[in-house]
């Protein structure tokens, strides 16, 4: 399939891009790495009149840390995240998670801004931003908005971004010495979108979770920060606390049925992931015993 005809322009700066977006409104689409947009164009699922390529805007690039905040520019490619020592140090969850995103050829082009703006509910990075309590920085002609990741995603491929805004960066607190993280997803093949996944970070005080953020993905129309984690914090986790947390998780999930999994299967796998996460972070394998015959 071939995309329908469109015009193309390369923005020279954020201001330039915002002017173009304001001028063309929802006739225009931002082109970042193109790894989600181009397939959609070729399948004629989307037919914008104009593509605004932001690839040349250098102010959207780069990874930096200051005052305990890690900032990742929107144009940072998946491969840059994978290889960045700063990210490995300050947000190791991202380093681990990014290896699950697609395949090398796609990671060489796809960007974090594109992934977050695209907001596929089965995508890894949106859940990571929730797990890491990140702030998503967007800019419009009227200025900048700083949005909590948990408030950014509003539905399947939907966010609070308006067509005239640009996602410019993601910011997150750097990992502390007692921070811990967990990432795992169930996918049919390496690089596939997940059937169910979990990107989690926590603060451990001894053998107790002082804080635990569980960012589930592919369990609903957007990534979910599980409120059920409240059953697991503040005191040493027992099997019954975990069971309560799993039941609470079940109640807050609203998973979709698709070719890979029924809603029930997604709930089941999410509960397994929760147990696995808790057992792993606490170093207590008995909390995640495999079923025996």
């Amino acid at each position: 399939m071939k995309a329908s005809a469109f015009s193309y322009t390369r923005a020279s700066s954020v201001t330039d891009a915002l002017d173009l977006l304001a001028l063309h409104g929802d006739q225009a689409k931002v082109l970042s790495g193109g790894q989600s947009l181009m397939p959609a164009l070729n399948l004629r699922l989307s037919a914008p009149a104009l593509l605004v390529d932001i690839g040349a805007i250098s102010e959207l690039r780069g990874i930096s840390e200051s005052n305990g905040v890690l900032k990742i520019g929107a144009l940072t490619r998946h491969v840059d995240i994978l290889r960045s020592p700063d990210i490995a140090k300050h947000a190791p969850l991202l380093t681990e998670a990014i290896a699950y995103v697609a395949h090398p050829a796609i990671r060489n082009k796809g960007t974090i801004g594109g992934s977050l703006a695209h907001a596929d509910p089965a995508s890894e990075l949106p859940a990571c931003t929730i797990g890491l309590d990140a702030i998503i920085v967007v800019r419009g002609r009227n200025g900048e908005r700083r949005i909590q990741a948990a408030d950014f995603f509003t539905g399947i491929y939907e966010t609070v971004l308006s067509p005239e805004e640009l996602l410019v960066a993601v910011e997150m607190p750097v990992a502390k010495s007692n921070s811990a993280h967990f990432f795992h997803e169930y996918a049919r093949r390496k690089g596939d979108y997940a059937i169910v996944g979990l990107a989690a970070s926590g603060i451990l005080e001894g053998d107790v979770f002082a804080d635990l953020r569980l960012g589930f993905f592919a369990v609903g129309d957007r990534p979910l920060l599980a409120a059920a984690s409240k059953h697991l914090t503040g005191k040493p986790v027992t099997a019954s606390m975990l069971a309560d947390a799993q039941a609470a998780l079940d109640a807050e999930l609203d998973p979709q049925e698709d070719q890979q999994a029924s809603a029930g299967m997604r709930r089941y796998l999410a509960r397994q992931l929760m147990a696995r996460c808790v057992a792993t972070l606490l170093g207590r394998p008995e909390l995640d015993a495999r079923p025996r015959a």
Partner: protein
């Protein structure tokens, strides 16, 4: 690779000094393909070439009431918009039946649907434009009024009286039925200590080729000739059929098949949209190109293996298998595919079930039914994976029931290696198979006992691994028994012409085709070896009905065994002719001379007498120096088809070692082994890679590949994100071993190896999964084995 220590006397034509047979040599076409200089139809451009895009039915079953193309025709770049009715004036419809499949019926199929679309994806109009994108733009503006009809989607109810009949003139939705009853089945079940039953379910899937189907048709009205550039496995078959339906003489059609980006049986059929492209070229008097995009590929490339089969096995406590019985149903889409038909797969299932085993008691029924889904037909391993999964699944269930090791029950029932020639209850004739030698080799390769010990140890720790074994037989080197006897003009013989050119190099034209499996290489290896010429001096020409001998092409694991034998025989004649010339020039006796390393030498002493280029110079430029009346013939042609046996059966055995995550339902493949017997091995690497590639496609079927239709007949996963092909990340190491039992039906002794891998891979995996899950008393007989299937079987969801 040169081994000149042996002298040729007393050796076969292949077993000569510097023979390439049995050696891994690089493929001659490698450099061209690796440098991106392949010539795929997808990339071809001709002057005045137009592109066709097909508007396809969004419904599984719908009457076409009206097509309005006014707006589309006015679009820039649009050359024509052609409906089925308009095209029917140029091309006649066809019916995919063969007379040896008694009772097989189908309805006339048009290149473009005329009044009714019978599956989602059937073409209802053609839009021809100067570019593909422009044609797609215009296609969006063609408006079609449909009246949706009730689709028939569930093959299990296709024959129920309440179900609508897709083609009322046929009376019912039954395309074909075959029944077989051999031996004394009822008595055998009565005499059995245990009878085990199971229902086997196979997911419909397809063979995903890297390069989609592509055709470029060029009607030259000056010459009144149609040249068809096509990625096909059977150029002469296409030539015949194109001519027949376009009202041309065969001589007016030339089919050229250059590089093909994968075929797997997908590209051996006559597709309606390709025929439409040919007709459009004739109609519009200019080159027209069609390249299926990926969505079209999923909706229109043949599907396969959509079977549900109830089956049972009777076994005695001592392990003797007494009988097999199957009742199979398969859904083939709305038409039997042309010209090979969609009944062959089910027919093969009946032929092959129980094939490796001694019991002569076998009852089978298969029913082939129409449905409003994409058409199905022959895909790599035709019927074998179904038959093998049923047979080997039953054998394992029987072993489990009587508490016998899966290896032991096979030892007791596989046909003995010294029992040949012999036959199967379904009438197959076996020349020489090696089930027991293969089994022994497999056990050694996989270290069976140690693996069992490891399995037991891990099980104590809650890790569930399984071992699955699957023996198989494979149909290769088919004679006319496959299609010819049924009235199809599909040649079972192949021809090869070899000639020594004026510089002492060899040009070889063969009717087999190359789709990546190495036909070119094996032909050069055989010709080079027989002639005594280095491979670098042999150029192979394939895939051109104007420029190769007439023949079948490459499918059904026939290229090496049939085309290779023709190459051998042709090279033998040329060799003799060369030696006759050499004898004349050298005033020697032909039998005192040999050809080694591109030169004629003395048999005694090996002294070089005349280089081939010098011999050729004399023949072509100084024939006046040859003895009077002596006419050299430096070109020879030979044809071959097996005559003793209708098929050269091969055999082998596979094993899978895997782990089931009983918590999440995922299967991790850890290792796969294959021992196969394809007779003479011409190029070990080509054989091994055919086996591995075949196994990977079988593993795809076992775990991933599935064309998922909803109840309205909509294919819901027609893209590479949702249709899961096997990828390297999940594939295990695949160890391949060989037993060699050459066929005596020909001098080469080669049987086919192209489909053996696919035949048994899924059976081995399913058996391994059931072995892993045996502590849970769970049996799964459905593929693909998705996490959902496993978790459901385990009762976790």
């Amino acid at each position: 690779m040169n081994d000149s220590s042996e002298k040729q006397s007393g050796l076969s034509v292949l077993d000569r000094p510097n023979s390439y047979i049995g050696k891994t040599v690089p493929r001659p076409n490698l450099g061209r393909l690796m440098q991106g200089r392949g010539q795929y139809v997808s990339d071809m451009v001709l002057p005045r070439m137009a592109h066709v895009v097909f508007l396809r039915s969004p419904y599984a079953h719908a009457r076409i009431l009206k097509i309005d193309a006014t707006e589309a025709k006015a679009m820039p770049g649009v050359i024509a918009v052609v409906t089925g009715a308009e095209l029917a004036k140029v091309i006649t419809p066809w019916v995919g039946v063969l007379s040896h499949l008694k009772g097989l019926k189908s309805a006339p199929q048009h290149a473009i649907a005329t009044d009714r679309a019978c599956w989602q994806g059937e073409a209802v109009a053609a839009i021809v434009a100067t570019g593909r994108a422009l044609a797609e733009d215009a296609a969006e503006l063609v408006s079609v009024d449909y009246e949706e009809l009730v689709p028939v989607t569930d093959m299990r109810t296709a024959l129920d009286p309440e179900t609508p009949v897709i083609h009322p003139e046929l009376g019912d939705n039954l395309a074909f039925e075959r029944n077989l009853d051999a031996g004394a089945v009822d008595q055998a079940f009565k005499d059995s200590d245990e009878v085990v039953e199971a229902k086997f379910v196979f997911g419909r899937h397809t063979g995903v080729t890297l390069e989609p189907r592509a055709v470029l048709a060029d009607w030259n009205s000056g010459e009144e000739r149609l040249t068809v550039y096509l990625g096909t496995q059977a150029p002469h078959m296409v030539q015949n059929i194109a001519a027949m339906h376009l009202g041309l003489d065969e001589a007016q059609v030339r089919v050229v098949c250059k590089d093909v980006g994968g075929s797997f049986g997908i590209k051996v059929h006559i597709y309606a949209d390709e025929m439409a492209t040919l007709a459009l070229s004739k109609l519009l008097r200019r080159p027209v190109k069609f390249v299926a995009d990926r969505v079209e590929s999923f909706n229109t490339d043949i599907h396969a293996r959509d079977h549900v089969c109830k089956a049972r096995i009777g076994v005695s406590k001592n392990g003797t298998i007494n009988a097999f019985e199957i009742d199979d149903v398969t859904g083939i889409g709305p038409y039997s595919m042309y010209p090979r038909t969609s009944a062959i797969e089910a027919n093969q299932v009946i032929n092959l079930v129980g094939g490796p085993y001694t019991t002569q008691n076998y009852r089978a029924r298969t029913r082939v039914v129409f449905q409003n889904k994409n058409v199905t037909c022959q895909y790599r391993g035709v019927g074998h994976p179904i038959a093998c999964s049923i047979t080997e699944g039953l054998v394992d269930l029987a072993a489990q029931r009587i508490g016998m090791d899966p290896i032991e029950i096979r030892r007791r029932n596989l046909i003995r290696d010294d029992a040949y020639p012999c036959g199967s209850p379904s009438g197959l004739k076996f020349e020489a198979l090696s089930h027991h030698a293969s089994l022994d080799k497999l056990i050694a390769m996989m270290n069976y006992d140690a693996l069992r010990a490891e399995q037991a140890e891990l099980r104590k720790r809650g890790i569930y691994r399984g071992i699955g074994i699957a023996s198989f037989i494979e149909v290769t080197n088919p004679s006319a028994a496959f299609y010819g006897v049924g009235g199809a003009r599909i040649s079972s013989q192949d021809g090869v012409a070899v000639r020594l050119d004026a510089t002492g190099r060899v040009i070889c034209q063969t009717s087999i085709t190359e789709q990546g499996q190495g036909s070119e290489s094996l032909t050069a290896q055989i010709v080079g070896s027989v002639l005594g010429v280095s491979m670098g001096r042999v150029r192979v020409i394939l895939g051109d009905t104007d420029n190769t001998p007439y023949g079948g092409g490459t499918w059904a694991s026939r290229g090496a065994g049939i085309g290779g034998e023709a190459a051998l025989q042709a090279a033998k004649v040329l060799r003799k002719n060369i030696l006759d010339v050499a004898a004349a020039i050298l005033q020697a006796k032909p039998h005192d001379l040999d050809i080694i390393d591109n030169a004629v030498v003395d048999v005694q002493g090996g002294q070089q007498r005349i280089e081939l280029h010098e011999l050729a110079r004399v023949v072509y430029f100084r024939p006046d120096t040859l003895p009077p009346g002596f006419q050299p013939e430096l070109m020879a042609t030979r044809h071959f088809v097996p005559r003793e046996y209708p098929f050269a059966f091969t055999n082998g055995i596979q094993a899978s070692w895997l782990e089931v995550d009983t918590q999440a339902g995922f299967i991790k493949l850890l290792k796969h082994w294959v021992v196969e017997d394809c007779g003479t091995i011409i190029n070990p690497q080509l054989v091994d890679e055919q086996i591995r590639g075949g196994v990977v496609q079988g593993l795809g079927a076992a775990l991933y590949e599935h064309c998922i239709y909803d109840e309205r007949g909509q294919l819901t996963n027609a893209n590479m994100a949702d249709y899961l092909v096997p990828m390297s990340g999940e594939m295990p190491d695949i160890d391949v071993g060989h037993i060699v039992s050459p066929t005596l039906d020909g001098e080469l002794g080669a049987k086919g190896a192209g489909e053996a891998g696919t035949a048994a891979a899924a059976a081995a995996v399913t058996n391994a999964v059931n072995d892993a899950l045996s502590p849970f008393n769970v049996t799964v007989t459905e593929i693909p084995l998705t996490p959902r299937v496993i978790l459901t079987a385990l009762g976790r969801i």
